[in-house]
């Protein structure tokens, strides 16, 4: 990670509360932005707690919680026994009793032991109690592939959560969104599954984290939950993507531009709630669409998006809506993952297949 020296992040060097005005933007990684978002949320609200496996003194296996225990104490950022259902179930009780727990599931596939708690209680308790019990829990999940991880470290598990009413499911793709969306998730009254694309942890942007904090704390950050964004404007076709696939979609759009095609890219950011408006507006305008996602395509979020686009944009479509997704296989081992992951070429092939000859 690139060390930024000016932002008030939780490395013990920042001055809590002191956010002097800066003029020049600095560079931050996606991981650093998440770390800053956690620190800023914990400083803003004493009810915010962070716990999970190795998130204490180690700072998490991806260092997203780096420095939080040192800064906020072991009552507010702590290691738990190695038991994901335990982590999730305890978070439910803490949220029932006035806390805003943020929990880390160490890897996507290691979150499965917590699934019953997530589906049966995190998602359902507010409905069960007619809103009397709100569960403002954020479930942070380092997510998806592209990092050469071994089995159980690269799953795209969003469909399981997106299929469960009651959960908000987010997947940021940029450093700015990583910061703002995590702050927004922590502030949300609803439980949020926060999917952090592992391969983007080390991506960088020119951002001033102190400025992001000021913007969020002043209520000036536009809402991102339920709001997709046009990441690249275009007129000929729309690529719809989220999380780890957004940079790939943007690269494909750039390559298509060299071939004379103007491709729009939508970054959903929020899988649930789904922003039908932004997607529909774009596809009605371009008349062509490809959904790009890393998860296996069968019964997937990508399938749902295709169905929704077809229902809403049928009379504007010049071609069937296509998908570029992972194959319907278990996530491959490191030397095989590049055959599996959506690639620029595979996206361009799909764009080429959108019946342009007519």
């Amino acid at each position: 990670m690139t060390q930024t020296t000016e932002a008030p992040v939780a490395d013990g060097t920042g001055q809590p509360g002191a956010t002097p005005t800066r003029t020049a933007p600095t560079t931050s990684t996606f991981a650093k932005a998440l770390n800053a978002a956690l620190a800023d949320a914990m400083e803003t609200d004493p009810a915010v707690l962070m716990f999970g496996e190795d998130v204490g003194p180690l700072g998490g296996v991806f260092r997203i919680t780096d420095g939080l225990t040192a800064r906020f104490g072991e009552e507010r950022c702590f290691d738990t026994p190695l038991a994901e259902a335990g982590i999730m179930g305890m978070a439910v009780g803490m949220a029932m009793n006035g806390m805003r727990p943020v929990v880390e599931m160490q890897f996507d596939a290691f979150a499965y032991p917590a699934f019953e708690q997530v589906v049966s209680h995190v998602a359902k308790m507010p409905n069960r109690t007619k809103g009397r019990v709100r569960l403002p829990i954020v479930i942070r999940i380092p997510y998806a592939g592209g990092i050469g991880g071994v089995e159980h470290h690269c799953d795209s598990s969003e469909a399981y959560y997106a299929h469960t009413p009651g959960l908000t499911v987010l997947a940021p793709a940029t450093v700015r969104d990583a910061y703002f969306m995590l702050r927004e998730a922590i502030a949300s009254p609803d439980p949020v599954v926060f999917l952090e694309p592992k391969k983007l942890y080390w991506s960088k942007e020119e951002v001033d984290l102190a400025e992001l904090r000021r913007t969020f704390d002043d209520g000036e950050a536009p809402r991102r939950i339920g709001r997709a964004v046009v990441a690249r404007a275009g007129t000929d076709a729309t690529l719809i993507s989220y999380g780890p696939s957004v940079p790939t979609a943007l690269a494909a759009a750039a390559a298509a531009a060299e071939e004379g095609r103007s491709i729009e890219v939508i970054d959903l950011r929020s899988i649930v709630p789904f922003d039908d408006g932004t997607v529909t507006e774009s596809v009605r305008r371009t008349g062509r669409a490809v959904v790009v996602a890393e998860a296996p395509g069968f019964a997937s979020v990508a399938s749902e998006i295709v169905a929704r686009v077809q229902e809403r944009c049928f009379h504007s479509l010049a071609a069937p809506v296509l998908r570029v997704t992972g194959f319907d296989i278990p996530f491959p081992s490191p030397k095989l993952e590049h055959f599996y992951l959506p690639s620029v070429d595979r996206i361009l092939d799909a764009v080429d297949a959108l019946q342009w000859e007519a």
Binding site: P81, A85, G86, Q117, P126, G131, R132, G166, D190
Partner: protein
Amino acid sequence: MSTATNEGHEGVLDGVRTRTADSALLPSAQPVQLVDPEGRHTPDDRYPLPSGEELLGAYGRLVSGRRINDQANALVRQGRMAVYPSSHGQEACQVAAAVVLGEEDWLFPTYRDTVAVVTRGVDPLEVFTLLRGDWHSGYDPYEHRVATQATPLATQLLHAVGVAHAAKLRGESTVVLAMCGDGATSEGDFHEALNFAAVFHVPVVFFIQNNEFAISVPLTSQTVAPSLAHKAIGYGMPGERVDGNDLAALLAVLGSAVSRARDGGGPSLVEAHTYRMQAHTNADDATRYRSADDVERWIPKDPLVRMRTYLKGLDLLTDEAETELAAAADTIASVIRKGLNTDARIDPAELFEYVYAEKTSQLREQAEQLREELARDAAPADPGVTGNTTKENQR
């Protein structure tokens, strides 16, 4: 269990400080009993007998609790309630679990613990919202600090740990009593909850009602542990066994566990030995897996009978008091009967109201779709066209 201390867990092996298995964490060889089935006081030097006033008060709750079970069963038979998992025969556990807690404490009940929930003060009609099929839970958990009745097994034990953990972080003196059955002790969440509670040293009393059956499966098929209370030592917390049909012993043992937790002693596990006198629910046929003889063996151990005998023997329970208790139980039964014989207003629009704090655009659309369907169904029928055909034509 009141003798266990943290110091007792420390030892030294070859000069290295270790934790030792402290026998003080083990339950007693036999379940604690203070009043035997014949209604005689059986002294136990670890647990003083609760006062006569305390016993009399709790006995009144016992009488009402039995009446609630009987009334609910009747309402299921009459089709006024979808299902009722009865705690008939386990009412001493139900009452004790509720009355040992203070206002600042929390109770985490299961689906079979309706009597405990009502004893804690929740309106019985709100409790029966679940079982009559009107909503998944009908009461405000914060009003009496009673969590929703858990239907999945053992998951609520972790919620109890979380509530206690949050209270501890805020420096509150809240104690959480979390209930489960013998079958639930086989679940992974049971293990994780006890381990988390012990590691974080939070004030939770885990209370197992061992009624010998998980629907049809007997305890012998769940575990070969010496007792369920013996599991506690594996987590470094004390375990205790108690006669689950002895109201006096339950009050003493659970009361001691609650005091210990409130005083910073950490979690403990209490196993009550009792028996599910009726089928799992009205939908179950218990004759397929146990004999009438098995059930009859427990009839003389009935918790009401022995406490009544004990209290009558000491002239603590007068005839007038009995008449009053019976009248109070009648009143509760009557309220339940009247309430359940009146259809509660159910509003389909509510289906979409509580999924998220704010309805998503998709849920707004779906709520509107249902509203239109209902409006169409309510409108005068178009002659010659059935409702279904109309719907199909519109698609």
